[in-house]
Symmetry: D2
Subunit: 401 residues, 4 copies
């Protein structure tokens, strides 16, 4: 049943899907149920309320769609926009690229703002475009909060500031796939109109729920948006929300119980503590990379990502070989470099249900792999740097004080 | 964590989601994995091969889409048709109604052939339409194999015969949601162009995989179909199939392992034995209904469904009360009557991983509920009728002979 | 991995091990933990407190020994008695026989009071023995509360009355393996000195915890009892209880979490409701047996057991054939007749986590098997009788009202 | 349900209970079954055959007793010896001490050979005793293969050589609790008469099976041994082995399936590879300890244990504080120092289902804790030393080459 078993635990450090907490695995270990019984709506009600806290919104409307992040993207776009609508979209890596590809295939008029891979979204260009758009032809700004391919975190607060500065009514659509529930994200405060993530990312569940949250303005837009949609149509959800049965089609019972357990754990730890933990692990990872004498793919500190670090390898090394070796020799799963940075970077995902010692095991593994592939790493150097930081900054586990 | 616990086992007899076999629950009881490691493609390859056997096709191309049946519908339609295309679609109950609603919202020109709820698709009308359509304006025939709301099984072989008779090139699209892997379904033999089901139906998995299988003709059609689609686009899958990595976006690791286990169990039992088991349980259920003196919503024997039985209650009884009572008193989950037959029928789902004694427990429960709500049932009558049939027709469990 | 898979659910109706509730299976689905961390003692403390409620004692001391019922027997005997001690023990079936065999091999002087299999303990003889024993040579009375082989429940209150009447100081040792947590059992009220059960019985866990509860008098006796014991010695437990670390040797982490979950479910349902449910299911089973025209192995109503029914088959039928057929054809697990009643009775266990419809499925299965093996049963007759009773007597599930 | 949850995975490095492989957790995730059905004996047969491979015996008879290591000890002793029998037993740490305590309480005449804690068994004294015992008053030699409290591995081959040299017929009883399936152990080659382990140790299961293997000579001895025993009596097992039903009392269904899965994984990896993995992880741990400037409790290299390392802390540090801090801050579970070495050593268990990166995470954690408690460790030093060794010596995972 296990296709390629290795002794001991798999060390899962791809930037998604991520490690699922054991209590969540347990919660999902169950038979199907009738989703039209009173039990499922009762639980769903609590889920919808609590998911809003993860998005930091009180006014948003969440949708838990049986789909992936790609589907969540499509839901965000087709519910709020009409074919031909002009949108400004930032290309900074593979996932923003894929979203732009989707935007184009959905027949929007995409104004692509491209940066080097490793840089954040060019918000100066956004400012120019907004300044020039007194006619309000721009209907939406589409931006990934965190580009998973390069480990770049964009500054969403600035996007909002620009929109406000130019008094521009464009919708503000955010891909929070590798950020929400791990990085500081504030839907209401930043005036995000649609935010979305996938269950297999920082929420630490299996793939299967595309989580989309819509502001009142987005909900309003959905009433006139002309993009063709059925499966992804919010209208059907809203209809069933009103009836109190919640589901226009069959949800995964297991994922609902899993989400319930995941949210309980997040609130038990405290969402701010969860975010602080990600910050701590991100910082530790970057210190290790530095100690190894390697470069972060992310070009400036302001863009450093606390959920994924893309490490640039020397030109004489194929980063794919590092990933392959991790899996074959150390039961370590690292992320490949994608597209433009294929062969050039490997990625360490450090998001989701993870702690210090797990990360340190990974970093030790990376050191051995670097040595394996001929990079003159000083063994222990990265771990030492990370430990020095973590030993100073890791709090007691609150429940165990 | 369990919202409304009752002692003992829940008796799940809604027509989906259905009971998951314990070995499948076990197979899914696991952490996430890197879906880009060599293990997942290796397993996926076996899944795609084996899923074809469930559809009884050797030439079809299967897609395991992270969605529900509603998404599978959308995938079937948008990949093969263009807005404005004329399609003939049969309205015989709630699920065919919902599919037609989707077809209309996707901007097809839907030629609806309506029957009374409880009747099968009117194929005489189809014959007339095909006969009249020498210009081949009909681009597709859309039909549910088994209408889950009324327990009606349509005759797909006849649809194929008509298409052949009139030498009509229309695509033949089949909703097999509550039929495939339970009823006799033959994709290649019947010349079905797109067939689809959901993982939570007869395959007895959680919700989350929309299984769509496309004939070479459907694949060909997808190259020119103009319906807008991205998430549901087969093209992306085909591209990754070619690369041998299979997944254009993140699949559910758990569902893949679950599907592997489910297929293994089906093949261990034998697909024909699985179908025979459904036939046996369907027949037993109908004999019980007869013994209770109640009517089957399905109006003719030729349409009797072996996966779900919709039972008509006397006018002085509200069928919703029966469902409510089953859940509240006997931990029995029955299906509600939907839309036109709301309050008038309740439904016994008998599909998926189920055996004789489970069904008999359900039938005994229904008898007690009928008595509870004031119907003068003879207690034991339905069980006796079902037992008489089952005792004569149940084979030894092959692995235990 | 499954040695002999059959489609659908296995219907487990042996009188132990019994069906485990899904929430308990979930709770046990976990890795090992350090049992010397603060977490396990904290949980253990709650377990020991709550287990006392199951025994209906406030003054008793519970021991959760990693063993089976056989080990629990040995623990009860060796901690309280010395070799050569005279004990009165009642032989009424296979399990009392095995306990007596153990008593003899442990070198006690066993005064066996034998009854026909199907009868309860002969308490008249006990009265005589107590009356005659003014010298108090009898050190203990050993009695099974419920003989699992014949479905006979002994009257423990009468034993206590006799001891009191004769003012006899003998210890009162009770095997509650197939009674505690299912039948009315009152350790304190009945002055039981040692009571015991196994986790795989009415508590509905896997095998692995021998639960023994000792009265203050039994604890006192343990200080001078000369039987050799180490693994089963209460002294080691008491030492660790005092230290607050609880475990003299490694417990099963999984079973501790399982027990926690099992107790939570029992208290959620209400222990009295649990007992009432067993009474209801026992009564329904006996009504079915009567309707089939078969005899209960239990010879008088006063001894009828609400946890197991031993059904006598006609002489021309081998009861082992019934059990075999249940397993091979209907995925139904019934209990064999043991020893003296081998071939003559089969047993329906109706204890633990079970509800009405599960039992009715089993009864329908038994009817079909009876027909299979040539007994002229009227199909549906037993189910009808059971339904008539259950439909009148089953309460609403409290959590769902 | 989780008493003290911490984010991320618990790092379990106590020397038992140890980490359970996920496939084993899955295999145990199941309801009870009738252990008298044909399925359980069929599986048991394979278990008994395969367990012999773990003990490296072809002539031994294994017993899978529902108990712990303490019970397995008692089974080994009481089945082969009679009260008053003289046995030579080696006291070298807490677990040998406990076994000796048991031997004394079971009324054997124990000739204790004591060593300093940190030293191995004094086999010179054994030689003397054997030389002096021409009358063969010594009935058994009892020795722990690996003393879990101090991380000392005894040389069993030498014991056998001495017995052979003096042509002494004493039984050779071995506690292999923290060795079998991890260290090189050869029952037949070394002429061990009873060897035993517990399921929660290197076999990586939950607690609950005391695994005892008896040589033909031990079986012969059991026929005349006069120690009182019932639950632990091999005779009852042998009787049921003959009948082919195997179990004299109820086994844990879950543990049987778990053991099946555990054995499958061990054979898939290869028992010799499993042992080599333990050797590798043991060596790496010792290199880290050295790099930290700390002493191994084990006084000579010949006794170094590959399953547990007891690390001596400087006198100004309380080792219990290290363990406490590991749990409270880093979710790391280390072993306490016990009895004579309480406060002086902490223990790193490195046995069972474990790999290189897990260990390195643990070592990094220990470094941070050492710093926390005021020991001037060079952060990264131990990890560096371990990595240097592991990077040179870790083979590719065979299934992934």
């Amino acid at each position: 049943m296990d296709y390629v078993y290795g002794p001991g635990r798999n060390h899962l450090f791809v930037p998604g899907p991520v490690n699922i907490p054991d209590p969540v695995i347990r919660a999902m270990n169950r038979n199907n149920e009738d989703y039209r019984s009173p039990a499922i709506p009762a639980m769903t009600k609590t889920l919808l309320e609590d998911v809003k806290k993860i998005f930091k919104t009180t006014t948003g409307t969440p949708f838990l769609i049986p789909t992936t992040g790609t589907g969540a993207w499509e839901s965000a776009l087709t519910n709020t926009l009409s074919p031909g609508d002009r949108i400004v979209s930032f290309l900074i890596g593979q996932f923003s690229l894929l979203w732009i590809d989707q935007q184009q295939r959905l027949n929007f008029n995409v104004d692509v703002v491209e940066s080097d891979w490793g840089q954040g979204a060019n918000l100066d260009v956004l400012a120019e475009k907004l300044a020039a758009d007194s006619a309000h032809t721009i209907k939406a700004i589409c931006i990934v909060h965190n580009e998973t391919a390069t480990g770049v975190t964009n500054n969403l607060a600035t996007v909002r500031k620009l929109l406000d500065h130019y008094n521009h009514p464009a919708l503000f659509l955010v891909d929070g796939v590798s950020s929400i529930c791990a990085l500081d994200f504030r839907m209401d405060e930043w005036g995000v109109d649609v935010a979305l993530t996938g269950s297999q990312k920082a929420l630490s569940l299996p793939t299967g729920i595309g989580m989309v949250c819509a502001s009142p303005k987005a909900i309003e837009a959905s009433k006139t948006a002309k993009s063709v949609r059925v499966f992804f149509d919010w209208k059907d959800y809203l209809k069933f929300y009103k009836m109190g049965t919640y589901w226009p089609y069959t949800p995964s019972i297991q994922l609902l119980y899993g989400l319930r357990a995941a949210l309980d754990l997040i609130f038990e730890e405290g969402l701010d503590n969860v975010i602080a933990r990600h910050s701590r692990l991100g910082k530790a990872t970057r210190l290790a990379v530095e100690a190894w004498g390697l470069k972060n793919c992310t070009q400036k500190e302001e863009w450093f990502s606390d959920t994924v670090t893309a490490v640039v390898v020397p030109p004489y090394i194929d980063s794919a070989e590092i990933v392959k070796r991790g899996w074959k020799r150390y039961n370590l799963s690292l992320g490949l470099g994608l597209n433009k940075v294929a062969g050039k970077v490997f990625r360490i995902g450090h998001l989701g249900n993870l702690n210090e010692l797990q990360l340190l095991g990974c970093l030790a593994g990376v050191e051995m792999i670097l040595k394996d592939v001929g990079y003159p790493v000083v063994l222990g150097s990265g771990v030492a740097a990370a430990c020095a930081y973590l030993q100073n900054n890791t709090p007691m586990i609150p429940s165990r004080i």
